[in-house]
Each structure stands twice: as C-alpha cells, then as structure tokens.
C-alpha cells in the first residue's frame, strides 16, 4: 500500500472528490498523502538513485529517473480516478529539482486536462524562498510549494499556463523529488 490509509476511507475519499469537483478551477491539495513508512523508504531510495539531467535551455532543466517498480501506478491511478470520478489512465514521471532547475511556460506545452504531483523532499523541509514552486497561471496564480509528502491535483484548462519557479542558490545542496502525473481520458 502506498496511499495513507486515512485517504482510502470511503467517506474521506468522497469528501475529497466533492471538494475537487466543487472548486474552480478544479483542484485540491492534501498533506501526508503517502503512507509514512512507504514515504520514508521511498525518500531513502530516491536519495541514492542516479537521476539523469535533462535540459533544453529555453524550456526546462531538471533530472529524471525512469520509474521501474518504485511506485504502484495502479494503486495511484485508482486513487486519482476516485477523486476525479472517472476511469482514466495515468502517466507519471519521477523528477528531481535542485539548484538552477526550472520549467518555463512554453507555447509547445499545450496540455489541458488533469495534472497531479506528489512532493518528496530530500531533507525534512523546503523553504519556498528557494524557488521550485509549481505555478498554474490563469487570471490568478495557483501556487503549490514543495512540502514533505504533499499532493495536489488540478484541472489545467486551455487558458492556464504552468511553470516551475527557478530553484535559486538558497537551496544549497537540498533538492526535492516530484512524481508528476497526467490523466489521460
């Protein structure tokens, strides 16, 4: 089991689904998403994996690791489907952001649909002044800063652009990992 069992309770899950459905834009943020034991083991594992740096200077810079069996994608997909009340497939990527990483708004990135992220910190905390926040911009900004074991899901509409703030020198040697997911109908 990878999801915190509190969130697998039928009533709780129904409430989360309703909160997601009734917000505009559709979104919700949850803390302590992953089972704590699983989270700590995953964090330990990630700190030793070899992430590969990928950079297109005018688009993004981050490191990526090809997921094998680190995450139970079926369980995660089932959880997402219960929130969104749909039966869709999900696609996830495991990325690492550290000093000098970013993801810019780009015309070629025209995905509209549901996106979600789970943050895993290399250390106990991440100061939002380090950058690295995930920003969804339309008439206003919806900002999700990396927070230990936190999760957000958002419906990105066509008029919405998203980016990841540049991670600045205040991050030092700290980094954060993020499971970035998209939902395909």
């Amino acid at each position: 089991m990878i999801i915190n069992k509190i969130y697998l309770d039928y009533e709780v899950l129904s409430q989360i689904g309703r909160a997601f459905k009734n917000s505009n834009p559709r979104m919700i943020k949850l803390d302590n998403l992953l089972d704590l034991k699983f989270y700590n083991e995953l964090r330990e594992k990630l700190n030793f994996l070899s992430f590969e740096k990928t950079k297109i200077p005018d688009k993004y810079s981050f490191s990526e690791f090809k997921i094998n069996n680190e995450i139970d994608i079926e369980e995660l997909g089932d959880f997402i489907n219960k929130i969104t009340e749909k039966k869709n497939k999900i696609k996830i990527k495991l990325r690492k952001y550290s000093w000098k990483d970013y993801k810019l708004i780009h015309d070629s990135e025209n995905f509209s649909g549901i996106k979600f992220c789970i943050f895993i910190l290399s250390e106990e905390s991440w100061d939002s002044n380090n950058g690295g926040s995930f920003v969804f911009r339309s008439k206003e900004d919806y900002v999700f800063s990396p927070f230990s074991n936190s999760f957000f899901i958002i419906e990105k509409k066509k008029d919405m652009q998203d980016f990841v703030q540049y991670v600045n020198n205040k991050a030092g040697n700290k980094c954060f990992y993020v499971i970035e997911g998209t939902v395909f109908s």
Partner: protein, 200 residues
Amino acid sequence: MHYLNSNLFNNTATLKNKFSSAKPFKHIFIENFLDEKTVEVLFKELKNQEFEEKEADLFHLYQTKDFFNLENGKLSEFYEYFKGKEVKKLIEELTGIKLKGKIDMAGSLYKDTNFLLCHDDELSGRKIAFLIYLPKNFEEKDGGSFVLFDSKNEKPLNKTIKYLPKWNSFLMFEVSKISFHEVEEVIGKKERYAIGGWFH
C-alpha cells in the same frame, strides 16, 4: 556633457569587424564605453530611481520605468542623447543595421537570487539589444554574467561565451531567432545595476 568615450569614434572599423564576425551570433562587448565622469553621474542618479520587483517564470529582477517617462534629470538627458543622431549613426555604422531612431531604455537591478533565463529577445521592432553595465567589482563567483548560447535549427544548445558585468562596459547584440542569452543568477550581496534596452 560628453557621454561616450571619445576613443570609440577612432576605432569603428575594428569594432564593426568584431561585431559582424562574433559567434554564436552578432554581438560586441566594449569596455570603458561612457566618459568616466558621465558614468558616475548616471550611476548616482540610477541608484536613486524607484525599482519595481518583476517576477515571472523567465525572470526575477528589479526594473525602473522606461526612461521615456522621465521628465528631467541626467538619465532623461542621456535617454534623449542615446536615441539621437550621433548614437544612431554610430550603431548603424558598427552593426550595418538601419535603425528607426526609436529606443526603449530602462534601468535594471539584480540582487541575490535574481536571474533571467534563456530567451531570444525577439519582439516586433527590436533590432539591437544593448546593455551598459554599472556594477562595481563583480567577480565570477558573484554570478550575474551575461551568457550567450549557440543554437541548432533555431533552438538553443550550449553556453558558449560569458561576459562579466564589468563597470562601464557595453554589450550589444543583433536580435534574431538565434540570439539566445541569459543572465546568470546573482549570488551574494553585491548589486548588479545596468541600463539596457533596444534600438528599433
């Protein structure tokens, strides 16, 4: 008031050649650009301007309003001079690019953690981008360098040349689909002032 270092006008053929042969795209970096007294006067006035914090995915920095909006003072006079006939003639001679006599000009300030990520500056009407650097004693470790990228199929690839923002130096480049550049993040307490803009 003398604005430009008079030696510039004796050396245009060399500068022209440097600009046109520069890689990865046409540009030039000139030290001791302004007259020594002038640069101190401009810097003093620039530091007293109101700088507004600007933050987006691509940048985090501080900027003054466009000098076009200044009603008086040395910066306003400098703006008028810089968009005037003498500078227009000089820039046209160095670049071989015909200009309209219209410029944008503003002050910028980068503090610790401020940056400008890779982009090409392309926007309708912009022909030449320029910067006059006014930071004192910037070293490599302080960040804030201006970096040029090479490109392939109009996509930026690697950092190729880096210029430290040296006091009273001038950098200009031709704005094009391949004029990819960035300003490295400033690290530490030094402040990186500059006056910059575009010739249209």
